[in-house]
């Protein structure tokens, strides 16, 4: 005759209270800890590439075609110290921020209208479908006729490069907000702008951030390209113009120094600015793995 019976674990394994407790957590080795940091791995990669560059350029020995890394860095340092590069960077960034800011604000207005009205949605969808495939730089000749040689032409082209990417991503982010969250927002009596700002914007933040990143990348590339075509506004050119000018002077290390500056600024914004925002928002909220 068997009947159900509960046998407690302590009866089976008669061990002391802390008898055979094995370690649940164990520290990783220092190398594993350091290698786990993405920045460390990437820095190592960059160092390897820098060494390859230096070795190859020394072997080639033709500073007119391909200067060595050390030449480039020395020129970069010189131009920084004599104030040329900081000036050029400042000119470029000023225009960039103007265009980026204006483009983002316009995108915000467009998407708020689009999410609240049907006609706004149609307008946004049609406009993004039309203008998103159009490279912003192709509007430059037109902009030059409309606004003349100056910052306003560049800002116009920048707005075009930022606006559609940000608006498209923000809008699709809004549409992707879960039905449950939208119902929760409605439950609290939120409508119109408070609803957009308190529910939709944070819920769609991963998409919005993606849009801002793409917008930034488009804007940065477009601006440098535009400056290559015409760079001098009010007697002070930007980074693109710096590259173009030095090519004409056959100062190739300076051209490389200019390119390096473009890369470094791009890296700083993408890896420091955006990643910091990401870490403090969507990563903290568990909205990104």
């Amino acid at each position: 005759m068997n009947s159900p019976q509960i046998i407690l674990a302590s009866d089976v394994q008669p061990s002391g209270p802390l008898g055979n407790v094995s370690a649940v957590e164990q520290k990783l080795s220092p190398f594993e800890t350091v290698w786990g940091i993405g920045a460390v791995r990437k820095t190592a990669l960059i160092l390897v590439l820098a060494i390859i560059w230096q070795v190859y350029a020394t072997y080639l020995d033709n500073p007119l075609l391909f200067p060595t890394l050390s030449d480039t860095l020395i020129t970069l340092y010189d131009r920084f110290v004599d104030g040329t590069l900081p000036n050029r960077i400042w000119t470029t960034l000023q225009i960039l921020f103007m265009g980026y800011f204006a483009g983002t604000v316009l995108a915000a207005l467009l998407t708020v209208v689009a999410i609240n009205t049907q006609i706004g949605t149609d307008f946004l969808e049609t406009m993004t479908a039309m203008f998103n495939p159009l490279p912003a730089i192709s509007l430059l000749p037109l902009a030059l006729i409309w606004f003349g040689l100056g910052a306003s032409s560049l800002v116009f082209v920048l707005i075009h490069s930022v606006l559609w990417a940000v608006a498209l991503n923000t809008h699709s982010g809004f549409l992707g907000v879960s039905r449950t969250l939208r119902m929760v927002g409605a439950n609290y009596g939120l409508t119109g702008l408070p609803y957009v700002l308190k529910i939709l914007v944070p819920a769609a933040f991963p998409s919005i951030l993606t849009g801002l990143k793409i917008g930034w990348a488009f804007a940065w590339r477009t601006l440098i390209a535009a400056e290559l075509v015409f760079g001098v506004s009010s007697g002070q050119g930007g980074l693109g113009w710096f590259i173009f000018e030095n090519r004409n002077l056959l100062d190739i290390p300076a051209v490389f120094a200019g390119l390096l500056t473009v890369i470094i600024i791009g890296l700083i914004v993408e890896n420091l600015v955006f990643q910091t925002i990401e870490r403090h928002t969507i990563q903290k909220w568990g909205m990104k793995e």
């Binding site: 879960s178 449950t180 969250l181 119902m183 929760v184 409605a186 439950n187 609290y188 009596g189 939120l190 408070p194 308190k198 529910i199 944070p202 819920a203 933040f205 928002t281 903290k284 909220w285 568990g286 909205m287």
Partner: protein
Amino acid sequence: MLQVTPAAIDRPASATKPPLLEVDKVTLRYKTPNLLVTATESVSFSVNESDRFVLLGPSGCGKSTLLKAIGGYMTPSAGTIHINGRQVKRPGPDRMMVFQEFDQLMPWKTVLENVMFPLTVARKLPKHEAETIAREYIDKVKLTRAVDSYPHTLSGGMKQRVAIARGMAMQPDILLMDEPFAALDALTRRQMQDELLQLWEDTKFTVIFVTHSIAEAIKISNRILLLSPHPGRVKAEVVHVDEARQDDGSAAALERDIHNLLFASEPGHKE
């Protein structure tokens, strides 16, 4: 004692107080791309204060749709819904919803901020007052230790507890719960049912609870409305459900009765 009254017969006249919620001959229809679906047809019932009212029925009986209509997310194509004499027209914080989905919490807010949010937004309470109330209800659902955690670090059961705390902290006229424990594992689900009953003992809030589990309905409710599917119609109402006991087998008997009633029209169906 337990009784199952057919829908048509008059319900036992409730106390002198008018019912808190009155659903009168409500027909709900919604459109799919190529169909007009009738979810419920001429459904009437009323809920009194401190009722634990369960809408029970097989899938397709329109119980969730009915709850959404009470929540104000849908307008009935016929009939009216009144709460405290006011007609329900849009969603509002007097009817707090607790959903089945875990993503009902705002991932960008901590547990405390999630519970505080409707208090500051909908009830316009000052921050410190909202925080006091929020902390009190977070304590009630036993999440004191997780108060500053973000939702993605919580388990499913903890998330539902936050949602319940958030709903209760608003002290709504009615708490609407749409299968809140359906996505939980069986053990957690049991625990949550017990905790919900304990909370009810504390504050005697009014709740409408949607479920498709007969056992859950019997455990939680004092009244059950049985709905039949396609379209949803009232089949019966079970009252004094809280008299059913596990130990003398009356709960099991009631469960069997309800099961037979719900599936009576399907001859092939066996348990």
